[in-house]
């Protein structure tokens, strides 16, 4: 019997994929790094990626950014519009933003120019800028206004005209986040973004990310698609649980013998669980997730704790 009471679901309540990794494997010569990674990220998710050093977190992130393509498997980025078919990653592109720990900004541009350069590179071409000067002048004005508004959002209105070397590490990372946000990419990748910052600055920036998450929640409540999807790679477990809503553990410590491999095939996903959601202004209390932290330490980081990896089909994680 056909389902007559047609679901009143809005777009937002249906799972809406932003990024997919399928059967992704990577190795360097005889050194196996990643083994058969399957990962599906829903639009609006804030995914924290953790794992022991040498587990291939960076390799996975590079495969997603597209700077170092995997030996096997495919990464696909899905557009917001359902009519556009997902495109396989063949190199770095404007649909995936990146925030690095170091060299996160162009040293020869001010904060404002650093944020505006993406709009310039994306929306105009060299030929436009050379031969359609009047047009370029007008678009430039718009770009600078948009960039200024973005900097105001990350609370850097007064630092707009500073060069990166004149800013603190925390300010630089804020600009880098604004630089990625202004492009409205499908997903933003953060590679240990706050690793070089002191604790207080790090907390401020974590809260800035939670504010984005809050905007996502508001969008969903209003029946719209959330704007921000992130993967944050971090070695700091508290940060992973605090900022993310889903925690992925990548580890070389899993029971590969049980799958019939004669040699270590590389790291795979061994942990995939939702994490508690924090509001940016609530108390930052790490006690309440002590239990989860202990579980992650055991299952992801412990060399002698070998469990089966997460089965490829089970990690299309529904909304937490």
């Amino acid at each position: 019997m056909p389902n007559t009471d047609a679901p009143m679901t809005t777009v937002a309540s249906q799972p809406h994929i932003a990024l997919e990794c399928r059967s992704l494997s990577h190795w360097f010569g005889s050194k196996r790094v990643l083994h058969d990674i399957h990962l599906t990220i829903q639009r609006g998710q804030f995914v924290s990626l953790v794992g022991p050093s040498g587990c291939g977190k960076s390799t996975l992130l590079r495969a997603i950014v597209g700077t170092h393509l995997p030996n096997e498997g495919v990464v696909q980025v899905h557009a917001k519009e359902a009519s556009i078919p997902p495109s396989p990653v063949q190199g770095p592109g404007r649909d995936r933003g990146i925030v690095y720990q170091h060299y996160s900004l162009f040293p020869f541009l001010t904060a404002l120019e650093n944020v505006a350069i993406g709009l310039k590179l994306d929306q105009t071409t060299l030929a436009d800028r050379l031969f359609r000067w009047g047009h370029w002048k007008r678009s430039r004005k718009g770009h600078l206004e948009e960039a200024a508004a973005m900097l105001e959002r990350v609370k850097l209105k007064d630092a707009m005209h500073l060069y990166p070397h004149e800013m603190s590490g925390g300010m630089r990372q804020r600009v880098a986040i604004a630089q990625a946000l202004v492009m409205k990419p499908e997903i933003i990748l953060l590679d240990e973004p706050f690793g070089a910052l002191d604790e207080a600055t790090r907390e401020e920036l974590q809260k800035a990310l939670l504010e984005l998450y809050e905007e996502n929640q508001q969008a969903k409540a209003a029946g719209q698609l959330p704007d921000y999807t992130l993967i944050i790679v971090t070695h700091e477990l508290n940060e992973a649980i605090y900022v993310g809503d889903r925690l992925i553990g990548l580890s070389q410590y899993w029971d590969w013998k049980a799958e019939g491999h004669s040699a270590h095939p590389g790291a795979s996903i061994v942990y995939d669980q939702p994490t508690p959601i924090f509001e940016p202004h609530s108390v930052r209390d790490f006690e309440i997730f002590e239990h989860q932290r202990a579980a992650v330490r055991q299952e992801v980081f412990h060399p002698n704790h070998l469990q089966p990896r997460i089965a490829p089909d089970s990690n299309t994680h529904p909304e937490a």
Binding site: T67, R94, P107, T125, L126, H165, M183
Partner: protein
């Protein structure tokens, strides 16, 4: 403790003192020489120097020339033409080498080799190949400084962090945009610095070539006038060359600070 700081007045006084001592020492040497031989021109006294300056800036009715302006025009034209081509060429070659491994493999060996050949030693070859005149000076300067400048630019492109390149692509840049909007502004101050440091060598090559083959220009004038022992003309010319070097140095320094205020903080 070494490097103990001194007051700025002390610094200025010491600087002025050294100049004064130099001038006094020169006057004394000249005085001694003129005691022995009143007609001496190897260490001209101040009035002889001023005559030399007069001679240089005077219009000579018979020969229809004015040394200083004629020489300055010839030397500066040769210098700036050579420098200009070397700067543009080294920028293009250096960036091409830094961005493309094929170009790097093709150009790096010959350029490293050419950068080691002393240009002054190759003057005779240039003369045979391109003949006398503007072309020779031009070739001389370009040959002398382009290879090492291109290598400087190339190394600066190589030092460009990969992260920034990747980032540019995630911001929607094309390959050409990465080169023009990201790599070029990154190496520009380095190029200006290399230019500043290469003005000295360029002058060496040019003056040497002018001394050997010129019929006008600073090198030519200095050679002829020192053969005639007219040091009253030679010394002001040397002072002028030093002043020119000093001026170019500060101009390029100021230009670099103006267009790349971020650069000093990076190093």
């Amino acid at each position: 403790m070494i490097r103990r700081p001194i007051a700025s007045t002390t610094r200025i006084i010491l600087g002025l003192l050294s100049v004064a001592l130099m001038l006094a020492g020169y006057s004394w040497l000249s005085y001694r020489q003129h005691q022995k031989n009143p007609k001496d021109t190897t260490i001209p006294n101040w009035s002889q120097l001023s005559e030399g300056v007069q001679r240089s800036i005077q219009w000579n009715e018979r020969l229809e020339d004015r040394w200083l302006t004629d020489d300055a025009r010839a030397t500066l034209t040769r210098l700036f033409a050579g420098l200009g081509l070397a700067v543009v060429g080294s920028c293009v070659l250096g960036i091409a080498m830094g961005c493309s491994q094929s170009v790097e493999a093709f150009l790096a060996p010959p350029l490293s080799f050419l950068a080691k050949v002393p240009a002054t030693a190759v003057i005779a070859v240039f003369m045979a190949l391109v003949g006398l005149g503007m072309k020779m000076y031009f070739t001389m300067i370009v040959f002398g400084i382009l290879p090492s400048m291109a290598i400087t630019v190339y190394q600066s492109v190589k030092a460009f962090p990969d992260e920034l390149q990747y980032k540019a692509y995630t911001l929607g840049a094309s390959h050409m945009e990465v080169v023009c909007n990201v790599i070029f502004p990154y190496v520009l101050p380095k190029l200006l610095e290399a230019t500043r440091l290469m003005i000295g060598p360029a002058m060496v090559y040019l003056i040497a070539a002018e001394m050997l083959f010129g019929d006008v220009g600073f090198g030519y004038r200095i050679r002829i006038q020192s053969k005639l022992l007219n040091m009253g003309v030679v010394y002001p010319y040397l002072a002028l060359l030093a002043g020119f070097g000093f001026l170019m140095d500060s101009l390029l320094n100021a230009l670099q600070k103006k267009i790349a205020p971020w650069f000093d903080a990076q190093h």
